[in-house]
């Protein structure tokens, strides 16, 4: 039962993109169409599940001082595997995601989950956590991709919805539209969930929370 809880918390309650605000870069960059969004989401989910699994197995072997570089190498290994697989079997998706495929390595959701969850928990809960967080990420990307594709190109998953004579609002698939839609989606989710919107970035989920939060505070104290 508790494993099920680990799985569902990532979907809505602790959704990595919309609630804890991690992994913003791919969320904004690849969501110009719904199919790209699904592809990116599933690739990230795969890496997240695998890396969580391996890291929770190795948690007693990895020395505490050098754990972050170790985690990054494990993650980068799986990312390279995904990259090679996509290049072979789905070349169109591979070229659509472009540079953001290798950049899954530095997606803070994955390193964050490794640091916060997989490094401290057993293998089964870690897999559930990874799957939940990954699917939550995919869900958020799909929402973004749907809105941007329908408004920006008048289609959904490549199916033409609006009549051809109607000019789509190009701004939605431009970079500026990405920021705008993400802002609106977060606001919408907050309205539906009747919650106050997050005031700050989700620092607690960030792998560098301890280093950076403490240091920034000290710095501000020094400056008075």
């Amino acid at each position: 039962m508790s494993n099920f809880k680990e799985f569902t918390k990532g979907l809505i309650k602790e959704n990595p993109t919309l609630v804890t605000l991690l992994g913003m870069c791919p969320t904004l960059a690849v969501t110009v169409s719904a199919s790209n969004a699904i592809g990116m989401g599933l690739a990230t989910t795969f890496v997240l599940i695998c890396s969580n699994m391996v890291i929770s197995l190795l948690k007693n072997v990895i020395p505490k001082e050098v754990r972050l570089p170790c985690y990054i190498v494990i993650i980068a290994g799986f990312v390279t595997a995904v990259e090679l697989l996509l290049k072979q079997y789905l070349p169109s998706l591979h070229s659509a995601l472009g540079i953001f495929l290798p950049l899954i390595t530095v997606n803070c959701i994955i390193l964050g989950r490794a640091e916060v969850f997989a490094g401290k928990n057993k293998i089964i809960p870690s897999i559930c956590d990874g799957a939940g967080m990954g699917l939550g990420f995919t869900l958020a990307l799909l929402m973004m991709g749907t809105v941007r594709e329908i408004f920006g190109s008048g289609s959904w998953f490549g199916i033409q919805l609006a009549p051809k004579s109607l000019d789509p609002m190009m701004i939605f698939i431009m970079p500026a539209g990405g920021f705008f839609v993400l802002g609106c989606v977060i606001a919408f989710v907050n309205k539906v969930a009747r919650k106050k919107p997050p005031k700050e970035m989700g620092c607690k989920g960030c792998p560098h929370y301890e280093n950076c939060g403490k240091a920034l505070e000290l710095k501000e104290k020094e400056e008075g």
Partner: protein, 193 residues
């Protein structure tokens, strides 16, 4: 020379790393609250980007390619960047304590900044020479700093503004970022295309 100028300007204005390529959004939203922090983060990023490019380029050309292991570049580069950041932190602490005090807090954040890994991979993918790569890295770093600085100015206004309840905080910040991004779209026709 002309080519280098074009690479530099297009990195800073036309293809701004944050506002049109969406790399490094996390520090962009997280650190841009105060002007001073933005400058510190920006300088640290410029420094690491240029040095990381100077290291990863030879690693790729003289280590990965001769052994036919160029598909390992993601792993090799992130490892180089992580090690490099750690090294810089240790050296700065010993040699230049005042600089460490100013930049030190931002260094651990940079390992997972996708703009840094992004720029090293882009340099390889675009087939730049060593000098061009360094120029591109410098331009990208400057672009990051510019975006952070501009946005920290906008942000003080947004935080003081009266926005609808559901948009308060992060959503309003994102909408403001979209407007700043529109202003950078004006540069897109700068070099024809």
């Amino acid at each position: 020379m002309k080519e280098l100028v074009i690479i530099m300007i297009s990195a800073i204005l036309v293809d701004n790393v944050v506002l049109s390529q969406f790399k490094g959004i996390c520090p962009f939203l997280g650190v841009s609250k105060k002007m001073q922090n933005s400058v510190g983060m920006g300088v640290a990023v410029i420094f690491v980007m240029v040095c990381a490019t100077a290291v990863t380029f030879p690693v790729y050309k003289f280590l990965l390619v001769p052994f036919g292991a160029d598909y390992l570049k993601t792993i090799a580069f992130i490892l180089v960047i992580a090690l490099f950041v750690q090294l810089v932190e240790i050296i700065l602490k010993k040699v230049l304590p005042p600089l460490y005090k100013a930049l030190g807090v931002y260094l651990p954040l940079i390992t997972t900044n996708c703009a840094v890994l992004g720029v090293t991979i882009t340099n390889i993918d675009e087939g730049y020479t060593f000098i061009q790569s360094i120029t591109n890295a410098l331009g990208t770093g400057l672009a990051f700093t510019l975006a952070l600085l501009l946005f920290s100015g906008v942000r003080t206004k947004v935080d003081a503004a009266d926005v609808p309840e559901t948009f308060k905080g992060v959503p309003a910040t994102l909408v403001a970022a979209s407007i700043v991004s529109i202003s950078f779209m004006g540069f897109s026709g700068l070099f024809g295309s």
